[in-house]
């Protein structure tokens, strides 16, 4: 993919932070509203893909390396499984931090309410971990595919 016109690039740059913030909002509010780690991560990844389309895979590929994204993805996955392991004293996936009063540790109000962000224990942490993983993973997938479909790839790349 090559670079697109200046209008596209400018609009993409302008829209990027807003999409990013919306994605992060969806990740953080995963335990209250529809959405969560995967959906928010997909939104953030789509913002990155928008930049990829606007600026062309050759330019983006120089700055954003697939191996860095892979590392980030591993970190996200390890965070998720690590949090699942944290509760193994009771059972795997046990919600260790719920109702402890710490960060995300408030008790959930009974019945219908406006929703308190600071609840749910381990679930928001897992959403964040999944968000990191999905963000890095989906961006890496599209980036790799875009680079692989470059015309020059067969000559330079080892494939």
């Amino acid at each position: 993919m090559s670079e697109m016109s200046k209008i596209t690039r400018t609009v993409a740059s302008l829209a990027f932070p807003f999409i990013l913030i919306f994605g992060l909002y969806v990740i953080i509010h995963g335990h209250l509203t529809p959405g969560g780690g995967f959906q928010g991560g997909a939104i953030v990844a789509s913002a990155c893909v928008m930049l990829l389309v606007a600026y062309g895979s050759e330019n983006v590929g120089k700055r954003l390396k697939e191996e860095h994204l892979s590392t980030l993805e591993s970190v996200g996955a390890l965070g998720f499984i690590g949090l699942a392991f944290a509760g193994i004293g009771t059972a795997f996936f046990y919600n260790l931090f719920a109702n402890t009063g710490g960060l995300f540790g408030n008790t959930v109000e009974f019945g219908i309410n406006a929703g308190d962000l600071n609840t749910s224990g381990v679930i928001p942490w897992m959403n964040i971990a999944v968000g990191i993983k999905v963000m890095a993973g989906l961006t890496a997938i599209v980036l790799t595919m875009a680079i692989a479909s470059n015309k020059h790839f067969d000559k330079e790349g080892e494939e």
Partner: protein, 523 residues
């Protein structure tokens, strides 16, 4: 002692979680270098193998393990009604039996890959995916929940397909992987629709809860058809076998070996659905005969397709189809006679034979695929016509190949003989014709492997391979020796295996009430 109890209690989940954790840690450890990463992955595989054996010894001695995720026990409603809504793992003797196979095969595959995988790129990802395959297999074998079975089936399919295409620069790998992926995806979606049909009627997903409520209505019949066809497709039974040769021959040799075990995990799911989920609520005779016919077709068509092959791995892939037929035949006879007096007379023996054949097949077919990989590693060809005289220089590989070939053909004293005798004897009492077909297939298998041995290892040394056809590096040798030792040991002491592993597994599979009561309670 407290620690050992803790390990034992958490063993079902540790067996899954450790490879999962290691899978994602591998790319990070891989940054330290090749040696630390390989040592890390091998040690994880060894720990998992030890955990599986420890769990197996306890399950066989003390009965089923049930592990509840996320809380100490299931949910108790204020009205006093306890519902099994949590995600659970239910590990009985059949599950641990399959887990032993998966763990051993994964361990051998990882050790073998140490020397075999020399590609410049993606080595860490290779181990990640290999460990994910192990996770998928263990998950399918341990889960007590229909939906998780689907999830682990998909994890297994995705990881295996990516590994089939690991050497993407080879011409046939993307075709084989795409074929496998489409077949697996469609099969898994059939499973999902079947699960949705069951959920729509009974409002639960727990295998035991659905099993104890099942009515065998028209919708249940549709679900049964979808489940059986999807899992039969995944285990490569004959009308749906077209993906097997392509995927098996395109994958790197250690992956092919693990793929055999992955197909057997699907076969376990098929048996679990037939015996535990539906069990005597359905017409076991009809479904049993269906599985028997699948088995006989697989046996016969698999071996006849294998005879003219010139590609060594394609040939072995067709033999893998043929050997799965024995397992389907043995267990199918058990299912067809389930609940009648014939079950105790010969049905259980047939099941024992079929189940024993699963572990035997995983070991000797794994060994054979590894020897094929060793030949490929040295000669860079899979074409039998281009090989020859390897027996002069690759003596150990030749010896391992002989062990594997004699075992697959059912020659005493190797392990294939023990399980085949159980199948022949019991199936003969069920229907003599089936037994005769099984013996004929065995003879054809021997003929086919004699051909392979002759063209690959016999004859004079070929000048073009002078200096190339050396003995394999030590990790590959260790992996093959491990499997060969297991094949010989199981062949020499089949009684030990049958009494301590296979019989509890067959009884666990047939004992539907125990499985259901472990979750649902009551007598």
């Amino acid at each position: 002692m407290m620690f050992m109890d803790w390990i034992l209690h958490n063993a079902p989940v540790l067996i899954l979680a450790l490879p999962l954790l290691a899978a994602f840690a591998t790319p990070l450890v891989g940054k330290l270098g090749k040696w630390p990463r390989n040592v890390f992955v091998v040690s994880v595989a060894v720990i998992v193998e030890a955990l599986v054996i420890y769990l197996a010894s306890d399950v066989i001695a003390n009965g089923m393990h049930t592990y509840v995720f996320g809380a100490a026990s299931g949910i108790l409603l204020p009205s006093g009604y306890s519902v099994p809504v949590r995600i659970i793992f239910q590990v009985d003797a059949m599950s641990v039996f399959m887990a032993i196979i998966s763990a051993t095969v994964t361990l051998a595959g990882i050790v073998y890959s140490w020397a075999f995988v020399t590609d410049k790129q993606g080595q860490s990802k290779y181990y990640t995916l290999l460990l994910m395959m192990a996770v998928g297999m263990f998950g399918m074998e341990f889960t007590g929940d229909l939906f998780n079975m689907f999830v682990f089936l998909e994890i297994l399919s995705i990881a295996s397909c990516a590994l089939v295409a690991f050497r993407i620069s080879f011409s046939e790998s993307s075709e084989g992987a795409l074929k496998y992926m489409v077949v697996s995806a469609v099969g898994a979606l059939f499973v999902l629709i079947a699960i949705a049909l069951l959920y729509g009627q009974y409002n639960v997903l727990n295998l035991a809860a659905v099993g104890s409520a099942i009515q065998f209505t028209a919708l249940d019949k549709i679900a049964l058809v979808l489940l059986v066809s999807a899992f039969a497709m995944k285990c490569g039974a004959v009308p749906m076998h077209m993906w097997t040769p392509d995927a098996y021959s395109a994958a790197p040799a250690p992956i092919t070996m693990v793929l055999v075990s992955a197909s057997q995990a699907s076969m376990y799911a098929l048996f679990r659905i037939a015996f535990t989920l539906y069990g005597v609520s359905m017409n076991t005779g009809a479904v049993g005969w269906f599985i028997i016919i699948l088995g006989v077709l697989s046996m016969f068509i698999g071996v006849t397709m294998a005879l003219p092959q010139k590609d060594i791995k394609r040939l072995m892939a067709y033999h893998a189809i043929s050997q799965s037929g024995y397992m389907l035949l043995g267990v199918g006879v058990g299912l067809a006679t389930l609940g009648s007096s014939a079950f105790n007379e010969y049905g259980l023996t047939a099941m024992k034979g079929g189940i024993f054949h699963i572990i035997n097949h995983a070991m000797y077919k794994g060994l054979l695929f590894l020897t094929a990989g060793a030949i490929y590693y040295r000669l860079n060809t899979r074409n039998l016509n281009k090989m020859g005289g390897l027996g002069h220089t690759m003596k150990w590989t030749a010896a391992f190949f002989i062990i594997g070939a004699l075992a697959i053909a059912g020659i005493p004293p190797f392990n294939g003989f023990a399980s085949k005798v159980l199948i022949y004897e019991s199936v003969f009492r069920f229907s003599p014709l089936l037994s005769i077909i099984a013996m004929l297939v065995s003879v054809l298998t021997l003929a086919s492997f004699v051909k392979v041995f002759h063209s690959a290892f016999m004859g004079p040394r070929l000048p073009e391979y002078e200096g190339v056809a050396k003995e394999v590096p030590w990790p590959m040798f260790v992996a093959m020796a491990l499997l060969a030792a297991i094949v010989v040991a199981m062949g020499l002491f089949p009684n030990l295996i049958v009494d301590n592993l296979v019989t509890p597994a067959a009884q666990a599979l047939a004992g539907r009430a125990d499985y259901l009561n472990a979750v649902m309670g009551g007598a």
